[in-house]
């Protein structure tokens, strides 16, 4: 970069992005961000036009989560910025590094209720890790550098930079700021000794793995720890893919829709080793009775998570890549390993269903087996999301993108677009439901525009299935506003975006249809009608202990 060159603020924005290795931006233009879009014109950075700012930011999230890089999105002031809020909140809850740049009205008219003016800095306070509004020309470049540093360091998260129009068109001298080096987090050796002591005393230890392992790029260290100790393991929704699927003591997901074996093993353990996880209520069920006889070792980069919901016996804040190797030790826990293996056998999934109607769990299990090694599955939110978590398997955490903390319907399709952009050689499948799919369906245009070969598996029970399930179980079958039997013809709709597809309704169609979905060139929509009587099982009812899981009670059809 040529130092001291005079340029517009808008040109400096694009140059700072290039200096950070940003090759792809997702966004939508508008009045207050026009100078930045002007600077983008002809610049060596690829911009993908979404058809809604929420879609742009979700695509940036998918890009970030599938690749480990920081995602970048642009939006204009006012409605452009407010449309980002849901995606920023999603990134905050799931700790995803994202830099969102919004245009703002000129500084002279801020606070006058100008056209498309809203207090974006104020809006951002509760849905970002940090945020800035640039009000001086000489702050612009250092602020952008700081934004990238904050987004990716420590526990990652979204950072918003609001840039008024006069700052975009004003002139500045381009200077690379002196970068503060963030100090390497260090952890306490004495606590490592205390943790090792607890590990060696434990007769029935369990490992509870969250999304922090993938975010810390500590999958190898985690697997080495499992190999060294032989500790049986469970994962959260975001932790899926961290543990090798064929790891002998791995029991899958725990929590509200976890496997029965996972929940029983955690309830019976005498030591819970929590790695990059945060005792989320969907994981713990009734907190007071969660692993109630267990001592706890809690490892996380974010010290605010240590003791937030469960007081640990030993807590270590720091980089999991350094902490996990320090805890590798051999343990004598053969009787417990046998007990866990027995639980795994007793509570394995049963995919045999009589009848012609398609059983989504069995179909998703077959899809997992058919996907090539380099694949990404993006979910929406609801019953299909839980079936994906239960019945598919993943090689790495970045192969499974699911809106976990915020649970945002409409995440899957735009996230798949971002994932395909960041990993163009991967097979990318968006698994959606008929409710979620319609929430960001406008992004089909983005697929059309770039001819992105994103595969869509649309599981359709003509219901808002998860809400319907709760109405059935906990609201006396009063099905308030969950009937979606007036859905559009999805295959016809996809064809309007040049996306071919077909509908299947019976079990004997599944194998060939999945093969075509995975192997065909270009985008494709496989619309799968399923039996609307099927629910997600097992289930920990709200307020109950994870020990008290409800078992399948669907009527067989």
């Amino acid at each position: 970069m040529k130092q001291g060159q005079m340029m517009r603020g808008a040109d400096a924005v694009i140059k700072v992005l290039a200096a950070h290795g940003v090759t792809n931006i997702f966004g939508y233009p508008g009045g207050a961000i026009m100078p930045i879009y002007d600077a983008l014109y002809g610049a060596p950075v690829e911009h993908l036009l979404s058809r809604h700012e929420q879609g742009a930011a979700f695509a940036a999230l998918g890009y970030a989560r599938a690749s480990g890089k920081t995602g970048v999105c642009f939006a204009t002031s006012g409605p452009g910025a407010t449309n980002l809020v849901t995606s920023l909140a999603d990134a905050l809850l799931d700790s995803v590094p994202l830099v969102a740049i919004t245009g703002q009205v000129s500084t002279a008219v801020i606070g006058t209720d100008a056209f498309q003016e809203i207090d974006v800095l104020g809006l951002s306070l509760s849905c970002t890790k940090h945020s800035f509004m640039v009000t001086e020309m000489d702050e612009l470049i250092p602020t952008l550098y700081k934004a990238f540093e904050v987004a990716a360091s420590g526990r990652p998260g979204p950072v918003l930079v609001d840039i008024p129009k006069d700052i975009q068109i004003g002139m500045l001298e381009y200077k690379t700021p002196l970068q503060e080096r963030s100090s390497e987090p260090e952890f306490d050796e004495e606590r490592v000794d205390a943790a090792l002591s607890l590990l060696r005393q434990a007769k029935q230890p369990m490992l509870y793995v969250g999304g922090g392992v993938g975010m810390a790029s500590a999958v190898d260290q985690l697997r080495a720890f499992i190999d060294a100790t032989g500790v049986p393991s469970v994962a959260t929704l975001k932790g899926l893919g961290s543990i090798a699927n064929d790891s002998p003591g791995y029991l899958g997901m725990l929590g509200m829709h976890g496997s029965k074996a996972a929940n029983i093993a955690v309830q019976e353990c005498d030591l819970l080793i929590v790695v990059g996880a945060r005792f989320d209520d969907r994981v713990t069920g009734r907190l007071a009775s969660f692993a109630e006889h267990a001592k706890v070792i809690h490892l996380d980069i974010d010290s605010a998570e240590l003791g937030k919901l469960r007081l640990p016996d030993v807590a270590i804040a720091g980089d999991l890549r350094q902490i996990l190797p320090a805890l590798c030790t051999s343990l004598e826990i053969a009787p417990w390993q046998d007990e866990v293996a027995q639980l795994k056998r007793e509570h394995s999934w049963n995919y045999d269903r009589p009848g012609e109607l398609i059983f989504a769990p069995a179909m998703l299990n077959r899809l997992a087996d058919k996907l090539p090694e380099d694949s990404v599955v993006c979910c929406d939110v609801g019953q299909h999301q839980m079936w994906v978590a239960q019945h598919m398997w993943f090689r790495k955490p970045e192969d499974h993108l699911s809106s976990a903390g915020l649970g945002t319907m409409g995440f899957g399709l735009p996230a798949a677009i971002g994932a395909k952009v960041s990993r163009p050689d991967a097979t990318v499948v968006a698994v959606s439901g008929d409710g979620s799919f319609m929430m960001n369906v406008q992004e089909l245009t983005t697929i059309k525009r770039r001819k992105l070969p994103v595969k869509i598996l649309l599981i359709d029970n003509q219901k808002l299935g998860m809400v319907k399930q709760w109405q059935q179980l906990f609201f006396e079958e009063r099905y308030s506003e969950t009937d979606l039997s007036d859905n559009p013809d999805f295959v016809t709709m996809a064809s309007a975006f040049d996306i071919p597809g077909r509908t299947i309704t019976t079990t004997d169609q599944v194998e060939a249809a999945l093969d075509h979905l995975v192997n065909c060139e270009g985008p494709y929509l496989l619309h799968v009608r399923i039996d609307d009587a099927h629910n997600v099982w097992p289930l920990v009812p709200p307020g109950a202990s994870n020990r008290d899981m409800m078992e399948e009670m669907d009527k067989q059809t």
């Binding site: 800095l121 104020g122 306070l125 509760s126 940090h130 509004m133 904050v150 974010d302 010290s303 605010a304 240590l306 003791g307 937030k308």
Partner: protein, 86 residues
């Protein structure tokens, strides 16, 4: 419980809102507050707070804010809220 906190903040126009939002959202009530802009770059903020929750649940969250330079618990008192606020 009544707590007294002293924070040193990097002064930004929105820093007070940022701190107060976290205080409210994490379940603490401000009963008394004083902010002083020190040298144009930093500000000190003293707050008396009331909550049933442990103060660490707040201080760990405040310490994560980029503009919080220091967060110190000055006192922990099990006294009546009115006495401190008055």
């Amino acid at each position: 419980m009544i707590y007294t906190l002293t924070l040193t903040l990097a002064h930004r126009p929105e820093v007070l809102e940022r701190v107060l939002r976290v205080v409210r959202h994490r379940g603490f009530k401000v009963t008394k507050m004083n902010m002083q802009l020190e040298d144009g770059k930093t500000a000190s903020l003293d707050m008396a707070l009331e909550s049933e929750r442990a103060i660490e649940l707040l201080t760990t969250q405040l310490e994560k804010l980029i503009d919080v330079i220091e967060c110190r618990v000055v006192s922990l008192e099990s006294v009546n809220a009115e006495k401190v606020a008055s």
